[in-house]
Point group: C2
Chain length 493, copies 2
C-alpha cells in the first residue's frame, strides 16, 4: 500500500475543475441564493446494465476521481470565464472562489466485481458540493469501469495466455489512452504499448517494430538483422510485411541462427498482424519447433476481441500473446458504461435522512431510496459470493442470525440464508471524510490483484459470456418496505 | 483567423510527449544507432472505411496535433523513465534530450469533408521524427474526426433543429469530453453542456437543472419557482420528474403565468428526458400553444442518435432542440475511426523519393505509394465536388486540359473530365515547415463554417444515410502506373 497526497500529484497539474455539466453550476447558484449551501444530501453512483450482456462489471476509476475531488477549485481564470457568461451573481462567484470539497465519499474498492443497481459510490455532502462533482465522478468511473470490464473479458477469453493492450492510436484522445491502459491493467492485461501509461502507472510496456521499419530497409532480412543487432536480448520480429510464411518466417529463423544464437542470444518472439491468424500461427509453430526454436513465442494482433480470441483458441491457434487494440481501448462492441448518480436522501436539521426515490414507469429505473450500505454475502463453506445486499445505513446486521433478503422488484421473492453458513463484507469503505482523504490508495498492482481475487469469488455461472446467471442484488426488509411506501405516496400525489 | 503560438497555450501545460507506442522508441533507437536519423521519409495519414457506413467523414483534430508536435520533447523525468527500462543507450537518450520536430506537415484543413484512402495528412521528416509523432497523430485525428463525423450525422438528421452535446458524463475520460465537444461543434452542434469545453474553445454552453434539483424541494412547483426566481431570463424547466403531462407541464405553465409573466419574463423552454418523446412532445406543444406560450421551446433528450431523431421527426414530434449524450460523445454505433499512418516514400541522397507500397492480399489494404498530392475536382457549373484525385507530388496539372482520372483498384475504369468544366483545389496545405508552424489556425467558428461549406459541395447521394454513393477517389495515370509496377516487382520477389 502506498500513500501519497494526490494534491501534489503531477497528473493533476492541469485544471480540470470545470469539466462539469453547466447545470451543476446553475443549480448551485439557486441553492446558494436560497441559502441551502449547507444542506447535506446523499447521492448514489450505480449502473443499470452490464456491458456486452455480461454478468458483472469491474469497478475502476476511483483514484482518478479522488484526484479530481482533491483538486476541485475555481481559479481566477475559471471565475473570469463564468463571469463572462453573464449568468452568475458576484456573491455566488465569490463562494466558488473559496470552494473546497468538505463532504464524505464512500466507495467500493477499485477492482471489485460490481453489479447493476447497487451503490458503488455514496457521496454525503452539502448539496452544492455533491452536485459539482457529479460529471467528473461519472466520467472517471464510467470510463475506467468500462475498460476494466472489457479487458477482463478479453483476458478470460485468452485462457491464461498473455494479453497486451495496443490501442492508444484508436483511443478517444489522450486520457482515454492513458487511463484506458490503466483500467485494462486492472482488468488483467499484462502490459501496454503506451509508454506514457507505463510512466504514469508503473505498468509494463512493450513493443518492437512496425511494418514501416521493415519497409525502410532494402530487404526484410536487413531490417531484422539491424533490430537483432541493437536489441539482441529482446528481439521480436514482425513477419507479415511481405509474405508471412515464405519470407518473414524464413528470415526470422535465419536471423535467429546467424545473428542471435552465435552470440548466445535467442529470438524472443515473432509477431503476425494480418492474414488467417489461426492457420498462420499453426504453420509458424510447426516450423519454429522443427528448427529447435520451441522457446520463441508467437504474438498475434489483428482487431481481436474476446469472441475472436475464443474462436482462435477453439481452432487450435498457436498463440502465446494476444495484442488487442481498438476493440479493447474503445470497448467497441459496448462502448458506453451507463453509470448514473442519483439523489437518495436529504439530511434534516435533526440529523435524520429523508429518503428520496426517483420514480419511473419502468421498474428497472426506480431508484433505491435512502442512505444505504452495501454488503456482499459469502458462503462460508466455499468462499463464493452468494448475493449482495442493500440495507439502510442505520440497520445493524448480525451474522449470528439467519439473513433474509428480498428481490428489489418482485416483492414476493425472498431468500433465507442460514446463520453459520455465511459471512458479510461491507463493500463501501471510507475514502474521503470531511474533505480529507482517509483512504490509502493501493498500488495499481494491488488493485489488479484485488480484481482477480474478487472475481475468483464469483460462480462460473456469473462469469460466463453467454446468458450469465443474474447475480442477486437484494434488499433488506426495511429497505424494501421503505421503497414500497415511498412509491405508494408518490402515486397518491 | 487568429494566430497564436501553441507552445504557450495553457492546454499544453501537461507533458504528453510519451503518449507513443513503445515501438516508436525501439525502432528509433535502431535508426539512431545505424546513423539513419537524418534520412527523410514521407508518411500518409488516411482511413479505409467511413463510420456508420456513411458516405464521408469530417476531418478534425489538426489543431490538437499541432500542439502535440510543437510541444514534443523529452524532459529529465521522461529520460529517467526510459533509462529505468534498461532498453536504451545513453547516446540515444541524449539525442532524445535534445529532440525537437524539424520536419514538414501538410494537411487537409480541419472541417473538410474527406474520403477513404486519400492522404489527409502528409508528413515529411527525418525517419525518427516521423515515427515519434505517429501515435499522437492517429489518436488526435481519429478521435476528433470520429466525433465530428458522428455529430454531423446527428445534426443533419435534425433537419435544422438545434442539437446540443450532452455527453461529458459518458465520455471516455476528460479529454474525450473536452475535445469531443470541440469536434461535435465542428460537426455542427449548437453548443455543449461541458463547461470546460466552453472555456477552452469559446463555444456556447448550456444547461439548467437535473431531476435531483426538483427532488430536493418539497414540491415540483417550489423547485420551479426557485429556478425561475434566480434565472428569470433563462428559465428552462424539466418536466418528467414525477409525471410529465399531469404534473410537470401544469407546474411549468403555472410558473410562467404566476412568476415569469408578471415580471415581463417568459418561460424559455421545457425539457423532457424520458417516456414516449414523440407523444409527449405533441401533447406539450398543443397545451403550450393553447396557453399562448408559442415561444416556449421544447428540448428533448433520451439516448438519441441520428436514427431516433429521424424517427421522431417522421412521427411529427414537436421538438425544437435535441440534447444528445452518449451516442454522440462515444459514437456508440461506430466507436472506432480506423485511421492509419503508412510509409509512402524514402528520400534519397540525390533528393528523389523512392516510393514504398504496403502489399496485402486484400486490394483495399494496398497503400498508394510515393510522395503525393490530393486535389478536389469541382464542377464549374454547380460548384459540386466531382471527385478527389491523387497524384505524385511532382506532377503538374493544367486546368486548361481534359483531366483523366483512374480507379485505384479496377484499373480498367477511368473517367475523363472535360477542360472548361472543372476547377481543381489542392487540399493538402502547409502546416509545419522545418519544424515551424506556418499555418494560421482558424478559429473554431471558422472551422465549423468551413465544415458546413465543404459539405455543401457534396451531392445529396454522397450525403444520404443509407447506401450512399461511393465518392470517386481516383489516381493520376502516373500514380496508377507506379502502383502497378511496384506491385509487380514485389510479387516477383
Amino acid at each position: 500500500m502506498k500513500t501519497y497526497d494526490l494534491k501534489f500529484d503531477l497528473r493533476d497539474a492541469r485544471n480540470l475543475s470545470l469539466v462539469m455539466d453547466f447545470y451543476e453550476l446553475t443549480m448551485s447558484q439557486v441553492y446558494f441564493n436560497e441559502g441551502r449551501q449547507d444542506q447535506v444530501v446523499t447521492f448514489d453512483y450505480f449502473y443499470r446494465k452490464n456491458p456486452d450482456n455480461g454478468g458483472f462489471a469491474i469497478f475502476a476509476g476511483l483514484e482518478e476521481l479522488i484526484g479530481y475531488i482533491q483538486n476541485l477549485h475555481f481559479n481566477e481564470e475559471d471565475i473570469f470565464y463564468l463571469q463572462s457568461l453573464g449568468r452568475f451573481d458576484e456573491k455566488f462567484l465569490d463562494y466558488l472562489r473559496h470552494f473546497i470539497f468538505t463532504g464524505n465519499v464512500y466507495a467500493v474498492k477499485e477492482g471489485t466485481v460490481v453489479f447493476p443497481n447497487e451503490p458503488i459510490i455514496r457521496v454525503e455532502a452539502p448539496i452544492i458540493e455533491a452536485q459539482l462533482i457529479e460529471t467528473a465522478l461519472l466520467l472517471c468511473c464510467n470510463h475506467q469501469s468500462l475498460i476494466a470490464t472489457k479487458a477482463n473479458r478479453v483476458v478470460r477469453a485468452s485462457k491464461g495466455r498473455s494479453v497486451l493492450e495496443f490501442g492508444a492510436r484508436r483511443a478517444h484522445n489522450f486520457d482515454a489512452a492513458n487511463y484506458g491502459a490503466r483500467a485494462a491493467y486492472i482488468g488483467g492485461v499484462f502490459g501496454t504499448s503506451n509508454t506514457k501509461a507505463g510512466q504514469m502507472f508503473h505498468m509494463p510496456v512493450s513493443g518492437t517494430m512496425a511494418h514501416s521499419f521493415i519497409q525502410s530497409y532494402p530487404s526484410e532480412y536487413e531490417a531484422f538483422v539491424a533490430y537483432a543487432k541493437h536489441f539482441p536480448k529482446e528481439t521480436s520480429l514482425l513477419l507479415d510485411t511481405y509474405d508471412t510464411l515464405n519470407s518473414g518466417l524464413l528470415n526470422a529463423i535465419r536471423v535467429h541462427k546467424e545473428v542471435l544464437l552465435p552470440q548466445g542470444n535467442y529470438l524472443q518472439s515473432v509477431r503476425i498482424d494480418s492474414g488467417d491468424i489461426a492457420y498462420l500461427s499453426k504453420r509458424i509453430r510447426e516450423r519454429l519447433d522443427a528448427e529447435g526454436m520451441q522457446d520463441t513465442k508467437i504474438i498475434a494482433s489483428n482487431s481481436f476481441d474476446e469472441y475472436i480470441i475464443k474462436s482462435l483458441i477453439d481452432q487450435g491457434a498457436k498463440i502465446d500473446v494476444f495484442g488487442v487494440g481498438e476493440n479493447l481501448i474503445c470497448s467497441k462492441s459496448s462502448p458506453v458504461f451507463g453509470g448514473v448518480y442519483k439523489l437518495s436522501s436529504i439530511k434534516e436539521e435533526d440529523g435524520s435522512y429523508t429518503p428520496k426515490i426517483k420514480v419511473s414507469d419502468n421498474a428497472i429505473k426506480l431508484t433505491n431510496p435512502g442512505k444505504k450500505e452495501l454488503y456482499r454475502v459469502y458462503c462460508l463453506k466455499n468462499g463464493k459470493a452468494l448475493a449482495d445486499l442493500l440495507t439502510l445505513s442505520h440497520e445493524v446486521l448480525n451474522e449470528e442470525e439467519d439473513l433474509v433478503i428480498y428481490h428489489p422488484q418482485d416483492v414476493w421473492k425472498f431468500k433465507t440464508i442460514e446463520k453459520g453458513t455465511y459471512r458479510l463484507e461491507r463493500l463501501l469503505v471510507p475514502i474521503i471524510e470531511h474533505g480529507n482523504l482517509v483512504y490509502d490508495c493501493p498500488s495499481l498492482e494491488d488493485i489488479r490483484k484485488h480484481a482477480n481475487a474478487s472475481r475468483e469469488t464469483m460462480w462460473d455461472e456469473i462469469l460466463r459470456f453467454e446468458y450469465p446467471q443474474e447475480y442477486y442484488v437484494d434488499l433488506s426488509k426495511e429497505l424494501l418496505d421503505l421503497k414500497l411506501s415511498l412509491l405508494e405516496s408518490v402515486r397518491k400525489k
